[in-house]
Every structure is written in C-alpha cells, then in structure tokens.
C-alpha cells in the first residue's frame, strides 16, 4: 500500500496559506519570529473567533485550507502534534491562579489550555467523529502524530487523515526559554496541516514512504537506526537524492547532523535546511516535510534552503532528518 501527501497548508513566518515561500522565502533575522496571521474572517465567524486563541484560529485556517484542496469534508482521523499546546491560555490561567490565590478562576481559560484542545476543537468545528489524538513530546511531537497516521493507514484502520503541527511562542515563554538558553536559534511558531491518504489524487504532492523515531544521543546508534530504516524500505543511502535536515544554527547540536550525514553518506549528499526561514519550534519538523513535499512536487530545489551544493543527480527520494537536542531523532522518507 502507498501513502500520499495530498495537500498541505501553513501559517508561519512566511506569507500565510500559500506556497509562495518556496520561491520567495524571507529569512528570520530576529531571535523571536512570530507567525504572520491570515485573514480568519473567511474561516470563522467573528463571534467564534473571539472565543478562540490565535493558535486555534491558525489550526482551523490551515485545516480548512488543506482539506479544501482535497475535497474531503470529514477526514477519517484528526491527529495533531504540539509541544506545548495552547500555552497562552495556560499562562493566563496560571497567572490568574497565582494572583487571585486560587479564587475567581475562569473555566474557559482552563478548557482551552489542554494540549488536545486543538485537535478536538477542529473535530468539533468539522463535526468529525473519527479517530482523534494529540501527541506532545518535545521535538518529535509532529512526527509522532504522523507515525500514528501512517500506522493506521498501513493496518487499514483509516483511509485518510488530517495531520497537524501546531505551536505558539508567547513573549513570556520566549523570555523563559532565553533565560535557560533553550535554543540558540530563532524561536518561531508553527501551524501546518497535511492531508494524507492511501489514494493518489491529481494534486498529490508526493509519496510518504515511512516514518521512524529514535531516542539516543549515541551517534553510532543513530546511524545504525537510519541505515536499518532505509533497508526496511528497500533503499540504500546512495538512493537518497536530498537530505532535509533540522539544522538550526545551534552550535551545541548541529554537529550531530554533520556526524550522521558523514556516516550515512560517505560520498556526500545534497542538504536543505529550513529553520533559518521558519524558526525553531517543537513542531518545526513539519516545515521540513512541507519543504520536502514541495521539492518533489515542483522538481526544483530553491537556493534559499540549500546548505552546500545542489543535488548532483535527480532528486526522487528525500530523507527528512530532525534531531531534538541530539537525542530525539526523527526520519521521514519521501518519494516522488
């Protein structure tokens, strides 16, 4: 059985809800880059919008846009990855609890603070009774959600899925992250929705061959795992035309990409990166998948994203690699 990425939509540092970043990407020049908001009036009524935080509005807008491209009104599954959930509401509830000594608490803030608020409110918005889940595990939150969808497609439990990646970065959280030197990279936000399924459509972006997750800070073990992953999918490293990595400029961790790529591709491999454009966030690897899908769909590799030389040959198979602090690894294999 084959799995296809049938559509995608993003709200990020780039022009919202289109793929114009592919040709005209704007790099993050600040340490803190918030998302460019879309016009939400076409997606939710003003009344409903007032009850939604910014992250939820982004999720609804990317969901509706991605589903709209496929003609699917009601997906078999809605699965989201989010590192922190609706952290703005969490902060407000926490602050109010501390300031008011656990009195006069507003239920709405609490209701909208849980991580699963996004996937479940999207389901309520679409009136979708299908499978619904949320993954919240640091830098592999999105890939976990993707893996969940892939496994259910492989076993025939579903035929299609909406898979989302959603994280916001509030000024308070940015300040706290800065204090502990969490990421030496631009802090971004993320809202990307993909529709994947077991049927090819005229607009399918690419094939989603497989996903793997690995927990280890031993680069030798990571290399073995990556090789095993390729072999499982009938591939050798030489069959990979391009690596899309989560390299973010953080000198503490970027070296692990160098070591892994050197071990995996002794002859070298063309590499793309994307976090200098979209910023780092727990679910940023979704942008890697988006970029890889568009490269396969368009058949070109934009200069802005290249790290080093262009691919020497054709680029039919892409390996997306992300490492969260060199210990939580994800591999996504894409084919034309």
């Amino acid at each position: 059985m084959s799995i296809f990425i049938n559509s995608a939509a993003q709200i990020s540092t780039q022009n919202p809800l289109d793929d114009s970043f592919f040709a005209h990407a704007v790099e993050c020049t600040q340490k803190y880059c918030r998302a460019v908001e879309a016009d939400y009036r076409q997606f939710v009524s003003p009344g409903a919008a007032r009850r939604m935080g910014p992250l939820l509005k982004r999720a609804v807008a990317t969901t509706v846009t991605a589903l709209g491209k496929t003609g699917i009104a009601n997906p078999d599954a809605i699965i989201c990855g989010t590192g922190l959930g609706c952290i703005e509401n969490t902060e407000k509830f926490l602050t109010s609890m501390i300031e008011n000594g656990e009195t006069c608490m507003q239920p709405t803030l609490f209701i909208n603070s849980t991580h699963n608020t996004i996937a479940s409110q999207v389901a309520t918005f679409l009136k979708c009774n299908g499978y619904n889940s949320t993954f919240a595990h640091l830098g592999i939150s999105f890939e976990s959600a993707l893996m969940d969808a892939v496994m259910m497609l492989e076993t025939g439990q579903i035929g299609n899925a909406l898979v989302g990646a959603h994280d916001e970065m509030t000024p308070t959280y940015f300040k706290l992250f800065e204090k502990v030197d969490y990421w030496q990279a631009p802090h971004g936000e993320c809202s990307v929705s993909f529709v994947i399924g077991n049927e090819r459509t005229p607009d399918s972006l690419c094939r989603l061959l497989d996903v793997d997750l690995f927990h280890s800070s031993d680069i030798g073990q990571v290399l073995q795992r990556a090789l095993r992953f390729l072999v499982k999918n009938g591939l050798e490293p030489s069959g990979i035309g391009l690596a899309v990595t989560g390299r973010n400029g953080d000198t503490r961790y970027d070296g692990s990409y160098d070591s892994l790529l050197a071990g995996l591709f002794p002859e070298g491999v063309a590499e793309c990166r994307y976090k200098h454009v979209f910023g780092e966030s727990f679910t940023a690897p979704a942008y890697g998948l988006l970029l890889g899908s568009l490269i396969l769909f368009n058949g070109t590799v934009p200069e802005t994203f290249l790290y080093g030389g262009k691919p020497s040959g054709g680029c039919d198979t892409i390996l997306c690699i992300n490492s969260f602090k060199s210990k939580d690894w994800s591999f996504i294999l894409l084919g034309k």
Partner: protein, 390 residues
C-alpha cells in the same frame, strides 16, 4: 504491569484494596491547595519516598508526574523481565497532560520577576516527563507522549499496540502518569464538577468527581516475542477503538455518540459481539453529565436489559485523569485474572432514565472479556478490550 495510585504502590496492593472495597480517597495531604476541603485520591508517598522506591537519589527539581511514572514503569518492566533481556529494542509510550506543572506552578511567579532559577521551564512539558523514565531505566530506544486529557493512557495503549501490529516493535511499555496539581484542581473546580463528598459514580445523587493521581503501565508483546521468550502472558489485548464526540470541549453529548462509536470500534476490532463482554470498567467519573452520557452509550451498545456488569473504580482511586486509562487497564486485567467485578462504591439509587445499576455487591464470576472506557475533554473517547489469553 505496574501501578501506583491512592490505593497503594504496586499491583498486589491494588488487588487487595479492590477486593476489600477500600477507597484511597481522603483528605488532602501533599497538594497544598487552598481548596483542602475537597477529597482527593493522593498517592501516600512524598517525592523523597517516591525517589527511594524507584532507587534514585532525591532532587527537588524532579516533577511528581515523572516520579509516579518511573515507579510504575519500574514495576512493569521488572514483572515482565524486560530489564533482564539483552539488546533491548523496546518503546515507551506514555500519556500525560499536566506534565511538570507541579513545579511550574510553584516557581512561575517568582521566575517572571527576577533572576531566580527558571530551570522548571525545561521540565514543564509532557515529553520531558516521559523521558525521565527512560533515564531511570535505559531499556528504551523510542519514546513518545500522548496528551488527550483523560484518555491519554488509553490512547498510548493503542499507539503501542499499533507499533506491534505494524512490525515496528515486539515489545512496548504503554500507559500514563499524572500527579495532582493546583492548576487542574482549580480548572475542574472552576467547571463546578468536583464533589465535596466522596464521588458516587452512576448514582442518582452524584455531584461530581474527586481528582486523584498515579500511574499505570502495561508491557505489550507480540505473539512471536511471547513465544520466543517463553512468557505466559497476563491476557490478550483483543481490540481497541477511538472516536471523537465532536460535541463540546468539556461536556459529553446526551446520546454519548463518541463513547458509543469508540466502544463499537473496539468491538469490531476485537471480532467480539457485545454479549461476549463480561464486565465493563466504565469511565464513570461521577459527574452528572459523564455518567448519564456514558450510560446511554452503554445501553446503545449492549441493549437495554442485556447490560453486562458495569462499575467505575474512580470511587477507589479518584479520577487520575491522564493516568486513568493505564490504572484502569491494570484493574481490568486484575478483574479478568482474579474472576471478579470490582464493586462500584457509594451507590444507592439508579440514575433516572437509565435502565441499569452498577455492580454494588461483591461479584465473583469467570470473566473472558473486559472492556475499559476512557473519555477525555474535547470528546476524546477511547475503549480497550482485554481478554483471557488462549
């Protein structure tokens, strides 16, 4: 399997409390909330004592969800003998929602003002809580965390089972962990769904839930792995289903559509008919809304007059939120293996409009298939079926 809750530390203490019909819900001792008149199901161990039980040195930065999780994971991997196997290729899939909120709520205010330690921000998220168990027991080469509020652990069981079904893993540890925090106690309190008395699931007079804390994990293994390692399994994970109520962020639909669908999916997945189910461990929180909605869903699945024994065990442990699907999986398996249906405590009068009452007298009977429900905010409904191993 491994478990810790207000009923005690370990599987044996849970079995004894259930058979003796002894609730662990009582007066607040550790949480330190101003709402200390609310009964809670606290684990009767301090964080220092939890560290000692895990076998690690105490550090005040450790979050309680992480400690509870590590303690239950420890029991599960030891009982299954995973810690004695070489070349481990094992995944840990855990559910939590509060994560490290216990430390954050204690330090957040100060941290925004000045230069005090803001290290808590590194452990506030859910994933770090799960990774704590991996650091304690270096057996795992993959991990992830599911956060679907009160059905998190049930969904972790399903994801882990899919890792085995698709051939990615032969052994996985699955479940969930959650400690009490002022954050979610105040959240539930603001929704007016906490009972100031002991909770009374499926009783006409029910007035809300009591929060609890704890952790519960199962070791799932493929048939091949069971055979190769000469293991006699505790039971078979026969089927599972997940559906979304898609109705309201905190309320369940009056016809229990999400719950109905998740139970139907689990039955279809297991290949069993409704009449094959011998006991239902209900979600049964004790809120007016949940028990009515779940009751209607149960009637739709099993049929009026054909209800198998149903009980909620949240009157023993409190509602342990993200951990409940793990703790209640352990309880369901204990029921299956020890041939009893746990008594639903504090029941007096059947809910008006429902055709059935929960198990209210000691009930010893042979069980072949047990269904466990876990429903979360947002209508994240999941059902899991455990069966006698053949």
């Amino acid at each position: 399997m491994g478990v810790v809750s207000a009923l005690g530390n370990g599987v044996e203490e849970h079995l004894r409390a259930l058979l003796e019909q002894r609730s662990g819900i009582g007066k607040m001792k550790y949480l330190g909330s101003v709402h200390d008149d609310l009964p809670v199901g606290e684990v009767q161990m301090s964080n220092e004592e939890l560290c000692e039980a895990i076998g690690i040195g105490y550090d005040e930065r450790y979050t309680r969800t992480a400690l509870l999780g590590a303690l239950a994971v420890r029991e599960a991997v030891r009982e299954a003998g995973l810690d004695r196997r070489h070349g481990s290729h094992i995944a840990l899939v855990s559910g939590t929602t509060v994560g490290g909120m216990d430390k954050s709520e204690a330090l957040y205010e100060e941290s925004l003002k000045g230069d005090c330690d803001t290290g808590f921000i590194k452990t506030q998220d859910c994933g770090t809580t799960t990774e704590f168990a991996i650091e304690c027991f270096p057996l795992f080469d993959m991990t992830t965390t599911i956060s679907t509020a009160c059905s998190s652990a049930a969904n972790a069981i399903m994801f882990g089972a899919n890792l085995i079904r698709t051939g990615r893993y032969d052994a996985v540890v699955v479940g969930g962990s959650e400690c009490l925090t002022k954050f979610h106690l105040n959240g539930f309190n603001s929704l007016l769904i906490l009972d100031h008395e002991q909770c009374r699931p499926f009783d006409e007079s029910r007035a809300g839930l009591n929060l609890g804390e704890g952790a519960g994990y199962l070791v799932l293994e493929s048939e091949d792995s069971v055979r190769e390692n000469g293991i006699s399994p505790l039971c078979e994970l026969k089927g599972y289903g997940n559906a979304c109520d898609a109705f309201h962020q905190t309320a369940s639909s009056s016809d229990g559509q999400g719950a109905y669908l998740s139970m139907c999916k689990a039955l279809a997945d297991s290949g069993l008919a409704p009449e094959d189910i011998d006991y239902v461990n209900a979600h049964g929180t004790g809120t007016p809304n949940n028990d009515q909605s779940e009751g209607v869903a149960l009637e739709r699945v099993f049929g009026v007059g054909k209800m198998p024994p149903v009980s909620s065990t949240k009157c023993y442990t409190g509602h342990t939120t993200s951990a409940s699907g793990g703790i209640e999986a352990v309880i369901s398996i204990l029921a299956l293996r020890n041939s009893f249906c746990p008594v639903n405590l504090n029941f007096r009068k059947r809910i008006e409009g429902l055709s059935f009452s929960p198990v209210s007298e000691p009930c010893r009977k042979e069980l072949r298939n047990v269904l466990s429900n876990s429903f979360g905010f947002g209508g994240n409904d999941s059902s899991v079926i455990f069966s006698k191993a053949e």
